[in-house]
């Protein structure tokens, strides 16, 4: 694989984007390498080719699990080998990757996912699957229609808000902002979402206000 191509970025490189970050076609961008019923860790097939924070993704096997991107990180695949600064004067990032093509093979982009829903026998359930996703299951960014279907009801928002993965408020805000464009009236969707959040964070006014500011 061309190392410079590996240095591509953002979810728009992964799949054909129709609206917002969401895809019109399913194309796996990664693979599950750690799994529990609540949390998944996926490794991207290509360096930096990760979806954005708050994007909804799906893992496909016997049933479909839906999860939200809560954190994206890129690091050495070997924990005992740390990247060292390599810039020589005016080098750009691309210059460095071109001068050291092995780097793309020694780094890996991983995404942390919070599981929010699953689909079995064609039916959508907005709560956790009784069994975790299998290791090596492929992960794809959700199609536009799937995002709309899942976010017709937001009862799973409390899972995102109470999660300890990444920065929960940023994840919730990013998720709602991108999901809103899948609805005919994005503004109404965000107002309804705000009401949900207000109910969950009724005892924490400071956090509620901060979160509402992020989605408005």
């Amino acid at each position: 694989m061309d190392a410079s191509a590996d240095n591509g970025n953002r979810s728009s490189d992964l799949v054909g984007v129709s609206k917002g970050n969401y895809a019109s076609t399913i194309s796996p961008f990664g693979e599950i390498v750690e799994a529990s019923t609540t949390y998944l860790l996926a490794q991207c097939h290509r360096l930096y080719a990760a979806p954005s924070l708050g994007d909804l993704v799906r893992t496909e096997e016997d049933s479909t699990a839906f999860s939200v991107v809560a954190d994206v990180s890129t690091k050495s695949i070997d924990p005992s080998r740390r990247p060292l600064a390599m810039s020589q004067g005016e080098d750009t990032v691309d210059d460095i990757y071109n001068r050291h093509p092995q780097i793309s093979r020694l780094l890996s982009t991983e995404i942390s996912l919070i599981v929010v829903a699953h689909k079995a026998d064609g039916k959508l359930f907005r709560y956790l699957s009784p069994v975790p996703t299998k290791i090596h299951a492929q992960v794809s960014i959700c199609q536009f229609e799937e995002v709309r279907e899942l976010t017709m009801s937001l009862e799973f928002l409390s899972v995102l808000i109470t999660s300890s993965v990444g920065s929960p408020d940023d994840v919730v805000a990013a998720f709602l902002r991108t999901a809103s464009v899948s609805h005919p009236d994005p503004k109404k969707f965000l107002v309804d979402a705000g009401k949900h959040i207000a109910a969950i964070l009724a005892g924490d006014v400071h956090r509620l206000n901060a979160l509402l500011r992020r989605i408005s």
Binding site: N98, P101, R105
Partner: protein, 403 residues
């Protein structure tokens, strides 16, 4: 119990004091050797070498041009490829339930230029069949177990063999060099009394055959094959300087001079104990290489099927490295220049060591936990298949470490 560092520290201190006491003499000898290098009389050396042909002075190299010659590196081509291999192995362990060994060869193929790319992989191979564990001579029925130095040599064969496979798959005319770590001279097999059939199988039918495959695949291409030795401890060139410069008759010099330390001072101009890298560090500027020397070794002469091994020293900026090549590389000036240029470039990219070799090593390395997992896996599979799993009491006691 871990190592008693308090006791060790006192001994280390004493060692350093002793080393410092000899530092002045060492500096003087390096200076003398450097003067001897510049004043080296090539004609006289060739005369002495010819006189001693077949005699006892084989440790000196073949010198074809003045050893103080210096060459600057060419700029690397716009597009080029560096392919390296390195190996690691798990020895036969008599404490293990089954007799076997494993060779893991790591490969890195790095492409630079318009289409930068990297391929990194390793090929582990387990040897457990009865015929895999020995080298046999059919005619006499003699056998040699593959362990120790023989296993080391078999690993070296595997490293070159995988480079030959890589070379056979080369489908472009991109200038390429193939690199291995360490020496191309299989000195590990010398002096252990191994039978000829062992040397034939490992060197002639293994190492040299693979090197020749690489040569055949590379015909009419811009191409090189070499090995790289970091911080070399050789003194071949210094020995050559001794041959022409020592005040004692040659037959006495080896006895009078202490090669291993600087504690004795048999003559004013003595340069024994100096390493080649000491004098080339003074001679070569960053990027420059020395002239090419030829290895004079019975193992090369008797088993390398006419292929000579040559070497040069190169200043890679942070140290002097030794680069060894088959003679068919150094005989071709463009191949020699390509090897020089790309090794300097690789060391620059790799902070003083060829990056392709570093990555091949990373692919090959079998760490302590890998060895433990390997043993566990062997035992698990044996158990699963219904075979007896037994181990020595010594191995068991090491694992349990009870109180």
């Amino acid at each position: 119990m871990s190592l008693d560092l308090n006791s060790t520290a006192a001994q280390i201190e004493s060692m350093v004091v002793d080393l410092q006491a000899r530092q002045g003499e060492r500096v003087r000898r390096v200076e003398s050797a450097f003067i001897a290098l510049n004043e080296f009389q090539l004609d006289r050396y060739l005369d002495i070498s010819n006189e001693s042909q077949g005699g006892r002075y084989r440790i000196v190299p073949e010198i074809l041009e003045h050893p103080s010659s210096v060459y600057k590196p060419d700029l690397p081509p716009g597009n080029f490829r560096v392919v390296s291999s390195d190996g690691s192995h798990i020895e036969v362990d008599r404490h293990l339930a089954v007799r076997c060994f494993l060779i893991n060869v790591g490969v890195s193929a790095l492409t630079y230029g318009d289409y930068p790319n990297a391929t990194l992989y390793s090929v582990p191979r387990l040897y457990a069949a009865q015929e895999d564990l020995v080298i046999s001579e059919i005619a006499t029925g003699r056998q040699q177990s593959i362990e120790g130095a023989v296993l080391g040599a078999k690993r070296a064969v595997a490293e070159v063999s995988i480079l030959a496979e890589e070379a056979s798959g080369l489908d472009s005319n991109t200038p390429s060099i193939y690199l291995v770590d360490g020496s191309l001279v299989m000195m590990g097999l010398v002096g252990h009394g191994y039978h000829d059939f062992v040397l034939r199988e490992l060197i002639e039918d293994g190492f040299i055959k693979s090197m020749n495959h690489i040569r055949d695949f590379s015909e009419n291409r811009s191409f090189g094959l070499a090995s790289y030795i970091s911080m070399p401890a050789h003194s071949d060139v210094v020995n050559a300087l001794n041959v022409t410069g020592c005040v004692y008759p040659i037959k006495d010099s080896n006895l009078r001079c202490d090669n291993s330390s600087f504690s004795t001072n048999p003559c004013e101009k003595c340069i024994s104990g100096v390493l080649d890298r000491d004098i080339f560090w003074k001679l070569l500027k960053p990027g420059e290489r020395s002239s090419v020397f030829g290895v004079n070794s019975p193992v090369v002469e008797n088993h390398y099927l006419g292929t000579g091994i040559t070497f040069f020293y190169v200043n890679v900026g942070t140290e002097i490295g030794r680069v060894e090549m088959p003679s068919w590389v150094s005989d071709n000036r463009s191949s020699l220049d390509l090897v020089h240029s790309l090794i300097v470039d690789q060391c620059e990219r790799g902070r003083g060591y060829p990056v392709a070799l570093m990555e091949a090593h990373e692919q090959a390395v079998v760490g302590v936990s890998d060895r433990r997992n390997f043993v566990q896996l062997v035992e698990q599979v044996l158990h699963k298949k219904g075979s007896d799993v037994y181990t020595s009491e010594k191995a068991r006691s090491k694992r349990l470490r009870w109180l």
